[in-house]
Structure formats: C-alpha cells, structure tokens
C-alpha cells in the first residue's frame, strides 16, 4: 500500500482524530511501507511540538514573546463549532460564566427573564460555544445596571477587601486543578465560580460552583429561591490559588456603589518597547489628537486661547506639533500604554512589510 492512496483530507482527519476505523488503519498500515508518509507525519508532529516557536520566525516589531510576562487575552475552554441558537446553548457545557452572573443577579434580588438574559448574552457575544472570553464575564451584570470591574493579577487581599464590602465576585480557574482527583489535561482556565466566603485564618475559600448545582430543569424553570442555586463548597486556599493562577488571577468584581471603585489597571511596567514601537506610538498619539480635534470641530468648536464651553473655544484645537508638551505627553502615554497592553494580552504587532 502506498500513501498516495490516502487523500489529504483522510490524513488530516487522522491527525485531527476525526477519522474512522478504516481511515486510521489505512494510515497506520501505510506508515510501514511509505517513507514519504513517514516524513509527512514526522513533519506534522514537529509542527505540533514547535507551534509556540512558529511565530518567532516571523519578523515582528516585538521583543521575543517568550521573554514577555504575558497575560494572554484568555477565554474559558469550551465547546468548539458553530454558534448554536440560544435554546441549544443550554445543551452545551459553556454556561458557567453566565450561570455565575445569573446567580449574582438573583442574589441581588433582581428579577430576570431567563430567555431574555440568554438572548442578550448570545447576541452580544458574551456567551460563545467556542469559549467565553474572560472579559465577557460580567458584561451581562453591567448590562443590568450593576457596577462591574475586571482585574488581572488580583490577590487574596483584594478578595477579602471586596467581600468585606459585600461585593459579589467571580473568579476564573482551571477546574481540574481545583479537583485533584480529575485528570488535568490542559493548563488553562476552564471554569467560572462565585466567591462567597474567605477565611484567611482557616486558609479556606468558599465558592459557588454552577457545575455542582445547576441542571437544565433549573434553567428552564427558574425560581428566585431555588435551593439548588445555593450550593457552596469550601476549598483549601492553596488549591484555589493553584487553580486561579491559570487565569492570571482574574477577578470580576461587582461593586455596591461608585465610591468603592479603585482602578487597578494592568501593570505594564515590565513590557519593553522597541524603537519601532516608540515611533508607532508617536503616530498613534498624533492620530488620536486629530481624531479628537475632528470630532470637536464637527461639534462646532474652534480654536481659542482659553477654553470656553459657552462659545465652544478650545486652546488644543491646533496641529499636534503645536500642542504644549504636557498635552503631547498625555497622548503619547495613552498610545504607549495601548501598545504595551496589546502585547501584554498576548498579541504581536507585525509590520506589513514583513508579511
């Protein structure tokens, strides 16, 4: 037998494990006699192993990614495939983030129309079969008028302080690490939980786990005082921290009032910038100023030596180069931090000439 008889799709299906018994046996049999197939699969295996290094062969403006302390823009591991209709999503296993939000809404005594809530989440892309982006968790709560913040690199002290203020908290974890009995196949956040208690002295944390307490029937016939939504479990802090670490200690906090808002922007100090990226930031800064000025002019503002909100005069309605250095610095800082954030979240900026 020769691998020439194997179609490219049969071979790709074998590697994707979407083949059938005949296809698998055909590939394995062909391997014994076909050197070209052996080389093809050897190359495919190397590519799989070297996947992380592939991007380094592309000329980029960035420092080597492996040297950066990144917090990639993660999403909860979930089903792959086409986005199903809202009703079908109930059959998927991707609901944990959404259920945590539902739990909080009910805990706050807010009446929710379950179907509408689901439709809103799906329509806005906050609930996806291919995995819910971490940043999407809490959007539904914000949509309901609650005050929500998202923080990476949060600490147990942050949790303790927030709980003391009676805030609601969602954390994202690698569930397999929280349950050591389960096989841990992938180091990635795959589950959302609500933190309901923290005992630093006893070194335990109490969590509401939607996977433990929710059934389809619960979803279909929701009830405010449904006892199945109140299941909570305590875990050793060390285990929790191990599991939480996979999401870069991602914490969604639901405040009680605006005075509790204490901005915690992502720490970008450890992200270096190349000379090229600094030049890029200057271009971004000038363009940001032009965008701002164009919008102002459209609203009827014109240049004036002093800001005058009544007569729509503004001293900064001048070309970027004529701005005071302090204003330029503000625009530059915004641009620089945006570029750094893009990198910190795991993206690379690639110059088109290298493509």
């Amino acid at each position: 037998m020769n691998s020439q008889w194997l179609t490219d799709e049969q071979l790709a299906s074998f590697l994707d494990c979407t083949t059938n018994e005949e296809g698998m046996r055909c590939v394995l049999q062909s391997l014994q006699t076909d050197t070209s197939l052996r080389e093809t699969l050897t190359v495919a295996l190397r590519l799989e192993e070297d996947a992380q290094q592939q991007s380094s062969s592309v000329s980029t403006l960035n420092p080597q990614p492996s040297t950066l302390p990144l917090i990639p823009l993660l999403r909860l591991a979930a089903d792959k495939g086409e986005l199903p209709a809202a009703a079908d999503i109930l059959q998927t296993r991707n609901l944990c983030g959404w259920l945590c939000e539902l739990y909080i809404l009910r805990r706050r005594g807010l009446d929710v129309d379950l179907k509408q809530l689901l439709t809103t989440a799906v329509d806005n892309g906050w609930l996806r079969p291919e995995g819910t982006p971490l940043h999407a968790i809490g959007q539904l709560l914000a949509h309901q008028g609650l005050l929500v913040t998202h923080t990476y690199d949060a600490t147990l002290d942050d949790i303790a302080r927030a709980l003391a203020l009676n805030n609601d908290l969602i954390v994202c974890v690698d569930s397999d690490k929280l349950h050591p009995g389960q096989p841990d196949e992938e180091d990635a956040p795959n589950h959302a939980l609500v933190v309901t208690g923290l005992d630093l002295a006893a070194e335990t944390i109490t969590l509401y786990d939607p996977a433990e307490s929710t059934t389809d029937s619960t979803l279909e016939t929701p009830s405010k005082d449904d006892s199945s939504l109140l299941t909570e479990s305590s875990f050793p802090l060390s285990l929790f921290q191990y599991a939480w670490h996979e999401s870069h200690n991602y914490l969604v906090r639901v405040l009680r009032n605006v005075s509790e808002y204490a901005p915690q922007p992502i720490d970008l100090q450890d992200i270096p910038l190349t000379h090229d990226l600094r030049e890029l930031s200057e271009a971004i800064a000038e363009n940001a100023h032009d965008l701002w000025a164009a919008a102002r002019q459209k609203e009827g503002w014109t240049y004036g030596p002093q800001r005058d909100d009544t007569h729509l005069r503004h001293p900064d309605l001048v070309p970027y180069c004529a701005l005071p250095e302090s204003e330029k610095e503000y625009d530059r800082l915004m641009a620089l931090n945006t570029i750094k954030l893009v990198q910190k979240l795991g993206f690379q900026i690639i110059q088109s000439s290298s493509l």
Binding site: D8, L11, S36, A44, L45, K80
Partner: protein, 182 residues
C-alpha cells in the same frame, strides 16, 4: 469570525481579503515552519508559497471544492502543504488533480488493512492509556465528541486538545515502531 466554510468559499471565489488574511497571513508561520522542516537549503518563501497557492486553486479550485470538512481546514492545508513541498523537493510534482483518484483507490486498500491485533499492539505501546480510550471511543466506536466530553466530564474544547494529542502520541508510537522493526 469566519468559519471554515466561509474561508473555503472565499478562496474558491478568489476573494482578495480572505485569500490575503487566511492563506498569506494566518498560514504564513505554518508555511515558514514547513519549509524549514522540509528543505535542507534556503528557498524563496514567496515563490514557494505562490506555487502552493496555484496548486491549491488549480482546475478552478477543484481541490478546494473537494474538501469535505471532515477535519479542520487548517489541518487540511497543513497536510497539503507538507505533502506538496516534500514532492516539490523530490521533484515529483504531479499537476493533475488526484483527489478523485485517491478516493477511488483508497477503497481498494481495505483488504490490506492493518490487522486489529496490530492496532491493539500500538495502543499498548502508548504511554497514556487515557489517550487510547479517547481514540477507541471516537475512532473505533465513532462516538460523538460532545457525548464523550460529557462522559469524561470535560469540556469539548478540552477533548479537542486531548484527541489531537492522542493522535500525535499514536503517530509517534507508530513511527517508532516502524523504525524499530525495520
């Protein structure tokens, strides 16, 4: 986000944006890695990839039209690229589309199928028996991935990763076995 169907359709219609973004941008790191793996000498990247593009689109996109979505498009392109470049290196490029021929001949291979005992022997050589379980259920018993994920109490995304790793381990074991027995 575009589905594999969208991308294939875009490539067939020679949609400029789809072609650029998928074939010439997203696949670029893949093609660069394959070229590095296959060719022991420097080759002109653009020249090789343009040839590959023409190969893919030959006969009014017949190859693309034959894609049955039984695997991911990315994996399929990967296999096509590896095989094409190996052939190119070995100067065995055949211009005619052989996909139909391959399919017809594949059915002839049934009589020469690897014996079940041989597959079981390869399974026994795999260090991770959980992977064996996944292959048994998905490939031999043709269980739906969603059902298996639920049965294993893992997400479908986790299973997606596990099954690729499982097949990689089976392939590695099979290649080592061939090397040992030769």
């Amino acid at each position: 986000m575009m589905t594999d169907h969208d991308i294939v359709q875009g490539l067939i219609c020679r949609d400029e944006r789809v072609t650029r973004e998928f074939f010439f941008q997203r696949c670029r790191p893949l093609f660069m890695s394959i070229i590095q793996q296959v060719f022991p000498y420097d080759v002109d990247y653009d020249e090789v990839v343009n040839e590959l593009y023409l190969y893919l689109l030959a006969d009014d996109g017949a190859r693309l039209r034959s894609f049955g979505f039984r695997c991911s498009l990315y994996q399929w392109i990967k296999v096509i690229a590896i095989r094409y470049l190996i052939k190119k290196r070995d100067r065995l490029i055949e211009n005619a589309s052989q996909e139909t021929l391959y399919i017809e001949r594949a059915s002839e291979s049934e009589s020469a199928m690897m014996a079940r005992s041989d597959v079981e022997r390869l399974f026994s050589l795999m260090p991770n028996q959980r992977y064996v379980h996944v292959i048994r259920r998905l490939v031999l018993e043709e269980q739906k991935p969603e059902q298996l994920a639920e049965e294993m109490n893992i997400t479908a995304a986790n299973l997606y990763n596990i099954r690729r790793r499982a097949m990689a381990q089976l392939t590695r074991v099979a290649l080592q076995d061939v090397h040992r027995t030769r």
